[in-house]
């Protein structure tokens, strides 16, 4: 019998032959010394190869690194859970918006719902600040609405990213186009910039695009601007027509002409004798809407005094010291502050919701079509405990915090546990919290100014606002853990810890006089703990 081919001997040594074939090979091997040597060699070769491959030199450092990385990786949420929550978020967001439009609830300006407009982001920022300043009452609806939209958009983005995770290029295109959509100005790509001590746009002059005026003493617009107008100046007078929006940073502004869309004003005094087609957002000391002044949509004001003699077609939302209305408001008026007066011949087309220090003055001759809902906030800190609405609000607050806490627990278990443990490093967290609280807004403003940094600034701002909320939840978990005497790992998975901790925190921060300080301390502690966790995660990711 002749010798078998080499491939057969390989199969023989690898034990891959049928028993019949094997017997044949063995019969041959018994007679052929040459093949015997060959097969022995193969067997030896296989053994050596297996030995060489089996030798694993895992240095202690590498082993430790693996262990640490595995622990970190194990703490990441399961992708399926993330996808589930993201999908639920999307459905909830869509449902919310659908419900809003179906029920024809007060939607406010249409622009509001389009996160691809810069307008949305500005309004969103405004709403948040407004909300924080006036403790929520007047602007809560707006905030919820915009948060829902934001969640929806981010969720869509999240789902798309998840599906596209295999293609880096598509992912990049998606992210870039999203950011471009967010930051791109809605109209008039062409921009004209003017810098001079005095800038005047004469009556005969028409500027066919957006005009930006920087660092002037006075700006006077008598002519027509077809795009937007952005002004950084001491004083501005708008006597002509602006077809787009107006953004003003400065001391005083007087509007005698017309602004077709919205106006965003950061100024000491604002006087309106002309027309604003859209909303007018004002951060400032004083705002006067004269008899001939007219606002096509809503007036949103954050500052001290508002005198309204003219007309506002939709809502008036004011948080400040005083609001005097002797003009006409088409819809709801909401005011949080010290004094309110509705004087004849003033009228309010919708409801009147007031939270004031002093008794509001409402002339008998003045007209309120809807209901008047007035709450007097006295400096008697115990008074609120007698109102059922107070408990309802606290319960709502508690429920929302529990939901957010549970989301954290399931979605970011590692981060959640780490933050909770960081709270224990009391002084470090307190110090770091103060630094984060102050430094982040400054960094955001700087990034916003650079224009290129706008997307990053917006992301950081969003994270910052989320952190402000999450801070107390983290501290609450720490409190719960301490009270129930659980280990950190147990506490991070324990719902009772969260429930108890949040309950204690809610109760403690409601104590008169002391509560405010406690709230601040909790905010700092939580913010510090979160900040440290973010830092730690970034570092271990880089390592």
């Amino acid at each position: 019998m002749s010798c078998f081919p080499a491939l057969t001997y390989q199969a023989y040594t690898d034990g891959e032959l049928t028993s019949e074939e094997q017997a044949q090979v063995e019969t041959h091997l018994a007679t052929c010394a040459c093949c015997q040597t060959y097969v022995a060699g193969l067997e030896q070769e296989n053994r050596l190869l297996a030995e060489a491959l089996a030798e694993v030199e895992l240095a202690p450092a590498a082993a430790a690194r693996l262990q640490a990385r595995w622990k970190l990786a194990a703490l990441q949420p399961h992708p399926r859970h993330v996808l589930l929550v993201v999908t639920l978020g999307l459905v909830a967001g869509l449902g919310f918006l659908a419900a809003q439009s179906v029920l024809a609830l007060e939607l406010g300006p249409a622009n509001w719902l389009n996160p691809f407009r810069l307008d949305f982001w500005r309004s969103f920022g405004f709403a948040i600040l407004f909300y924080l300043q006036s403790e929520g009452a007047p602007m809560l609806r707006l905030v919820i609405q915009s948060v829902a939209t934001l969640i929806m958009v981010l969720a869509t983005l999240g789902i798309l990213l998840h599906w596209l995770r295999r293609s880096l290029a598509l992912k990049g295109i998606l992210l870039v186009s999203f950011l471009l959509l967010v930051v791109s100005p809605p109209r008039a790509a062409a921009v004209e910039v003017r810098k001079a001590n005095e800038v005047t746009i004469a009556t005969t002059e028409t500027i066919d695009n957006t005009l930006i005026v920087l660092g002037s003493r006075t700006v006077r617009v008598d002519g027509i601007i077809t795009g937007d107008l952005v002004v950084f100046a001491q004083q501005a007078m708008i006597n002509g027509n602006v077809h787009g929006e107006v953004i003003f940073f400065g001391q005083d502004i007087v509007i005698r002409g017309t602004i077709a869309h919205s106006a965003h004003i950061f100024a000491r005094t604002t006087s309106l004798l002309g027309q604003v087609g859209g909303n007018i957002y004002i951060f400032g000391q004083r705002c006067m809407v004269e008899r001939e002044g007219e606002i096509g949509k809503s007036l949103l004001f954050l500052g001290q005094q508002v005198y309204l003699q003219g007309t506002v077609k939709h809502d008036v939302d004011v948080s400040g010291q005083t609001l005097d209305i002797s003009g006409n408001v088409g819809d709801t008026v909401k005011f949080a502050g010290e004094r309110f007066a509705l004087l004849a011949p003033g009228s309010v087309g919708g409801n009147l919701k007031l939270r004031t220090r002093h008794k509001p003055q409402i002339d008998a001759a003045a007209q309120v079509v809807g209901t008047v809902d007035s709450e007097i906030v006295r400096r008697r800190p115990w008074a609120r405990f007698t109102r059922p609405r107070y408990y309802f609000r606290q319960a709502l607050w508690y429920g929302a915090a529990v939901v957010v806490g549970l989301l954290l627990m399931f979605l970011l278990p590692g981060f959640y546990q780490g933050s909770m443990q960081s709270v224990g490093r009391f002084w470090r967290s307190l110090g770091l919290g103060l630094a984060v609280l102050v430094a982040v807004p400054v960094a955001v403003v700087i990034a916003l100014i650079t224009v290129v940094g706008i997307p990053i600034a917006l992301i950081v701002l969003a994270l910052y606002l989320i952190s402000l909320y999450v801070a107390k939840i983290v501290v609450a978990t720490f409190v719960g853990q301490a009270l129930l005497k659980k280990s950190a790992a147990e506490a991070a998975r324990s719902i009772p810890v969260l429930l108890l901790g949040l309950g204690v925190v809610v109760a403690a921060t409601q104590v008169p006089y002391l509560g405010g300080w406690l709230r601040f301390a909790i905010l700092l502690l939580g913010l510090g703990a979160l900040g440290y966790q973010v830092y730690w995660h970034l570092r271990s990711q880089a390592a």
Binding site: C3, A6, Y9, Q10, E16, G41, L49, L66
Partner: protein, 194 residues
């Protein structure tokens, strides 16, 4: 006499697995400790690059951890873990070369395996340090390295390797044959250079 400790060992391991499935962190740590070297070794042999192998090891344990509840004792645990690891690594390699095929389709019959049997290099292999042999294996093209590692590290049969790589059994045999030829050649060259 040697049967008894084996069974006890098996029982103890099954108990550990059962505890890990029930959520015991200690049992899981034990399983991790027992398998980390084997998994790391497989990843290194398949991927051939140590940082990538570390990444893969981490990922494999995440997958094992998540799939732990689905594990049934019909398959030995180590083999199950290793199969997760090799699936993952092969998948990674496939992704890396999306454009180029991992395996050049080669007609098994066209491979000439004549009577001119190439001599096994058992002596050469014995002389070389294990590390040097591994270096040569790592340098092999992945279409040769993969079957070699699956056969001599994971200990899979030709048919299993074929299933794992999507190849015919005969193709696996030829690839292994070729792989060894390459190995012998490289080692001989290395020897001659000395």
């Amino acid at each position: 006499m040697s049967k008894q400790p084996q069974t006890m060992h098996e029982t103890a391991r099954h108990e550990t697995i059962r505890q890990a499935q029930a959520g015991s962190a200690e049992a899981w740590a034990e399983l991790y400790r027992m398998h980390v070297r084997r998994v790391y070794g497989l990843c290194r042999n398949l991927l051939g690059f140590s940082p990538a192998a570390e990444d893969a090891t981490t990922e494999v344990f995440v997958r094992v951890y998540r799939a732990l509840k689905q594990y049934d004792t019909s398959l030995p645990f180590t083999r199950w873990v290793l199969s997760i690891a090799s699936h993952y690594c092969i998948d990674q390699l496939r992704r890396q070369r999306k454009e180029a095929q991992l395996f050049v389709t080669e007609d098994a019959a066209a491979v000439e395996v004549g009577d001119t049997s190439p001599s096994p290099l058992e002596k050469l292999l014995a002389n070389e340090k294990h590390e040097a042999v591994r270096a040569v294996v790592m340098a092999l093209p992945s279409q040769y390295r993969l079957p070699l590692v699956l056969r001599y590290y994971e200990g899979l049969s030709y048919a299993e390797i074929g299933r794992r790589l999507g190849l015919k059994r005969s193709h696996v045999a030829t690839l292994l044959f070729r792989a060894k030829e390459h190995l012998r050649q490289s080692l001989k060259q290395k020897e001659n250079r000395r």
